[in-house]
């Protein structure tokens, strides 16, 4: 993989995390193709090949519905989210880029110490459309069997 692509992915992944952490959720769907597949899956289900996800979006519509609900409809306490993404490694397969990286997601509730909400791998498939890299697939496989509390935003 070229250094240019590596830098492009690093920038994209940082931007993706920034949009969620900054609360610009209406921009989150812009990172995906339509249709696409976005899933948050426990390592347990993933390893056992069980199809259940914590979150599953299959189209631009579903991504937008989730973003809207998270921002406007769901009821949850105030909190700060901070993603840390590392070890991005990718390979080009025809017109697709297959990438893998690690993530840690910290959640800080008011008057609580920050805690790791979930931690795991991003398994991605990206394609270039009109010069822009987009996720055709982003599967977030988290290691911790038990989620502390709720996951109120996309990972």
């Amino acid at each position: 993989m070229s250094g240019d692509l590596q830098r492009e992915l690093e920038d994209l992944f940082a931007h993706y995390a920034e949009v969620i952490d900054d609360g610009d959720l209406e921009r989150w769907p812009e990172f995906f193709t339509d249709p696409s597949l976005y899933r948050i899956v426990s390592k347990e289900n993933w390893d056992k090949k069980l199809p259940m996800s914590l979150m599953r979006c299959e189209s631009m519509g579903m991504l937008k519905d989730r973003a809207f609900a998270s921002q406007k409809l769901n009821v949850y306490g105030p909190r700060a989210w901070r993603h840390f993404v590392s070890q991005i490694r990718a390979r080009v397969e025809g017109d697709r880029i297959v990438a893998r990286s690690n993530f840690v997601l910290y959640e800080t509730l008011i008057e609580h110490q920050p805690q790791v909400l979930c931690l795991g791998r991003y398994l991605d498939v990206l394609v270039r459309q009109e010069g822009k890299l987009l996720f055709a697939e982003r599967i977030c496989v988290y290691d911790n069997a038990i989620i502390p509390g709720s996951i109120v935003l996309p990972v």
Partner: protein
Amino acid sequence: MTAPADPLGGFVWPAEGDSRAPYWIYLDQGIYRREIERIFEGPTWSYAGLECELPNPGDWKRSTIGEKSVLIVRGKDGVVRGFLNKCAHRGVKLCEEHTGSGEEFMCPYHQWVYDLEGKLMGLPFRRGVKGKGGMPDDFDLSEHGLTPIRVHVRTGAIFATLHADTPDFESYLGETILGFYDRIFSGRKLKLLGYQRQRLAANWKLMLENIKDTCHASLLHVFFVTFGLFRVDNPSKVRMDETGLHTGLVSERGQQELTDGTRQMASFQQHLALQDPRLLDTVREFPGDATVIMHTIWPNLILQQQSNTLATRQIVPRGPGEFDLHWTFFGYEDEPEELTQRRLRQANLMGPAGLVSMDDGEIMIRAQEGMAVDARSAGVIEMGGRDYDNADHMVTDVALRAFYRGYRKVMGL
């Protein structure tokens, strides 16, 4: 504040009776210990798992009854048995994974080996080494097996009890609740779709209450209301067993029209449609008009048919202020793939990231925090009156009153 240690020394149930739930029952350590003894380790059937999690001989799963880790095992004879999850030798936890499969159980510490029926098969150095050491001559393998627990399997689901006097499962559920139960667990083979697990900083009873509190669905869950999946004026029923501890909550999907009920909700937003309606595109798969049946089965199970989402939620208490919730999603082995896909999509509403269930988890935590402000005050449970009768609408707290009447009896409060 922390509540005094002795529940009976400092606390008296409010004079209003079952239309009040005093906050000390959610906060006090003494009350919690009594709940473990009288409820979770008392004569109750706790949900332990689904048969489809251990389809073949030798398959096992780890589960939890109250605070106790247990193993549910399918023997070579196909029979499902239960054991405490600890080695009979020095108490080492036997199984660590959620599920597994094998011919036997071996404790790694001193390699005691048990068969699938819990019998101790042998142990190294039993006769000593070169004439030295070993177990005494009168050591009897048959006296050192795994500790068995009573298990009952009924059409796909597995229940267990730690108490000798627990009545048979069918009388325990009662006719009404059994009728609802058999609708989901009809004998059709189940297909396991996967798990969701979360830990909530709230008292375990709040989870059961949340389901029995039928009013909240049309108020708290703005998502439901916004997209017309649930309205307070939907035809519905609240059904209870004789103890009041189990409940069946039935509702039918209503018309998408602005009615008096919805107009009263501060958060109601008109004219909203999903960008991708597949999320709520449900199909009728059970006979009758009910589109949702939520069961609370005392003490640790919520069994749900929420449109095409079938799931068990297992409650594991972890002290007065915390519980784990294990969601197991399933379908039927003989169902079309298209229906399975609907279930996977509709599961977006459930669990720790659920468009609906996330609200419940968050509100329970907030309730726990609020109640701790004054353990001596009490919650008001008067919607729908002060009676205990089955209702044909959802604008009532009747299932909560019946629940606390039953709870007080069990707890001696």
